[in-house]
């Protein structure tokens, strides 16, 4: 019908990853794996009330987050992008605080960290990315200056009308935005084949004239390279790109979920494929990029980091109730201020 849209060849940085970078990627993945596994344990121990694990999605998250230019770009996450956050160097206590029920959206500074507040509405921030990206087109005409938005969402989210509106807006306006889908096979209990008609989110891109890349989401280098070229395409002013990283949600949807109700352990084993962390480790070993000492050290650092984050989380007290009122507006209203006053009086006089 139409010829398949393709990525523009923009060679601003197509050099292969250095050994140092490859090791850095592994270190990040190990840290993420460890923190993620720990967070599930924290929930069982009552340290946090709930958590949405990203087990199995480390390559997709770290690989893409690592490609982001933190001076220019902006990331729009869902509730399951801990690996992206970590790869971008976020304050992980601030990040994890949302799972402690301290503050919806998290306690990190989204502007400074270039990582929007955690989003609990499925597909809620996909359009935000398009708006932010269009803002870049309006502000900076020069190619190197231009920031790119990267919006994360899942196979389930792809069913939402907002995703369609976002892709259409982005393509009509040639907005510099990367739609990064982690197709992890499941939306809670609903498998991709009952969710995504046609079987692939990436396949929809061409209907909008948007180039797309379907990548092995468990291969961190492949994900990194796809993201890097998508960002370059956008930065050069060629409009949006869709990336679909094929991966697998190895854990439950959240700590409140019981996957045993909708998939067997045998199915999990068959569908999950190779563990992205183990697979990358074998590759680094085979290529002589890293040795066992390196992996042991990565593990030690991950454990140390987990301890620090756990301590930070444990230390987090509840926010002062007054913040319920003071954070609503930039320009507070007298009506709300008097509610705050009444609240304070009633809390104090108990």
């Amino acid at each position: 019908m139409t010829t398949e849209p393709v990525l523009a060849a923009v060679d601003d940085d197509t050099a292969p990853l250095t050994h140092h970078q490859l090791r850095e990627l592994y270190t990040l993945m190990a840290a993420v794996r460890h923190l993620d596994t720990a967070a599930v344990a924290w929930q069982r121990q009552g340290i946090i009330p709930g958590y949405a694990p990203e087990l199995g999605q480390e390559a997709a998250q770290v690989g893409s987050g690592y490609a982001v230019d933190r001076a220019k770009d902006f990331v729009f996450p869902t509730y399951r992008e801990m690996g992206v956050a970590r790869a971008m160097g976020l304050d992980m206590v601030g990040y994890m605080s949302t799972h402690k029920a301290t503050w919806h959206g998290g306690m990190y500074n989204p502007l400074e960290s270039r990582f929007a507040p955690i989003q609990a509405v499925v597909a809620g921030s996909v359009l935000h990315a398009v708006g932010w990206a269009h803002g870049q087109s309006l502000s900076s005409r020069s190619t190197d200056e231009r920031g790119v938005a990267i919006t994360y969402f899942g196979d389930g989210a792809s069913s939402q009308g907002d995703v369609h509106e976002a892709m259409n807006f982005a393509a009509v306006m040639k907005a510099p935005v990367v739609f990064f889908i982690q197709n992890n096979g499941w939306a809670i209990s609903v498998p991709t084949e009952r969710q995504v008609a046609g079987g692939s989110v990436a396949a929809r891109a061409s209907g909008y004239g948007i180039p797309s890349l379907q990548v092995d989401g468990n291969d961190v280098v492949a994900v990194y390279e796809a993201t890097r070229s998508a960002l370059a395409h956008c930065r050069a002013g060629h409009g949006p790109v869709v990336i679909e990283a094929m991966t697998y949600r190895r854990g439950p949807h959240s700590t409140a979920d019981d996957p045993g109700r909708y998939r067997t352990l045998e199915e999990e084993r068959l569908d999950a494929g190779e563990d992205p962390l183990e697979r990358f480790k074998q590759r680094l070993l085979a290529d002589g990029v890293a040795d066992e000492a390196f992996f042991a050290e990565a593990r030690r650092m991950a454990e140390e980091e987990e301890e620090t984050v756990r301590a930070g989380i444990a230390d987090l007290g509840p926010r002062p109730g007054a913040e319920m009122f003071s954070m609503v507006f930039q320009e507070p209203t007298p009506a709300l201020q008097s509610q705050a006053t009444a609240w304070r009086e009633e809390s104090e006089h108990v």
Partner: protein
Amino acid sequence: MSETATQTRSHNNYTEPAAANDIQQLSMQQALNRALDEVLAQNPKTVIFGEDCGRLGGVFRITDGLQAKHGEDRVFDTPLAESGILGMSVGLAMAGFHPIPEVQFDGFAYPAINQIVCQIARMNYRSRGTLPMPITLRVPSFGGIRAPEHHGESLEALFAHVPGLKVVSPSTPHDAYHLLKYAATRQDPVIFMEPKSRYWQKGPVDFTAAAPGAAAHDDEPTNHGSLTGARVAREGRHLTMVAWGAMVARCLQVAELAAEDGIDVEVLDLRWLKPIDAEALARSVGKTRRAVVVHEAPLTSGLGAEVAQLITQSCFATLKAPVERVTGFDVPYPSGDLEDEYIPNIDRILFGIQRVLEYRRG
């Protein structure tokens, strides 16, 4: 006070239908599950669908076991799109079905509001009565479970303002069972708001047809104790507390505390949030001459204003004090750590009672 969904969520709590003349201790989750099971069995045109309603039985297990029992045509999962779910309901209703869609959490009704307000609520009117919309929309509602953002919302003021909708919220397992069966046999759209923090508390469910408060298909909303009107949850002489959903249990607690100080509080469980049982309000406050309305939703333009105004309208001459509202604040529903500061707690309700009792003119 608050519990996580995880801690309280149990598995395999699907129960077999009971014989008549039967009273059982059930949780609200079990009572709702039972009601849906019976509705599916009774009316072959009923279909249940939504996100994770099928195999999983819903994230709150309200539809647990129903797909296995009634088949994938009757109980099915949809793709993850609320406007799709509600828009599809309209078409199914036009084709003669009685859809019972579920929106997974209150806050995710917003993506479907256009279909609810502009289509479901208006199709009967637009089609001059030729295309009825017998849709029962189940919405796990309100806060209190330390959940993520958008999982603790109270949309009743919005729904009650929409012409063409009826809105109901049970506060006990007994009412949950009977009101859901009642709603699911109506010919008009009913928004069924389930107080999710009450899903796991048990209470007696009287399956007897003639059980008090369970006279099915009674269309007299003013008939005290019927299914269509409000319910006096506790009788009292000095003051009326009006509440719905999870706040009813809290008001009953407060009433016990107030009784210790000799204050005899009547608690009115409004149940129907549209149409509101104005006569029950008039009757109760006509007697007590003082009223406090309690809800989780933000104060401004909340349903408490409507309730207060209905009371003032009918009881103006005898009212001893302006109706008090004890509600959530005009702030977004906060994260778990602050939830007990936001939802009307016992102290704040007691302060509200005090303000009414101590009110002096001029």
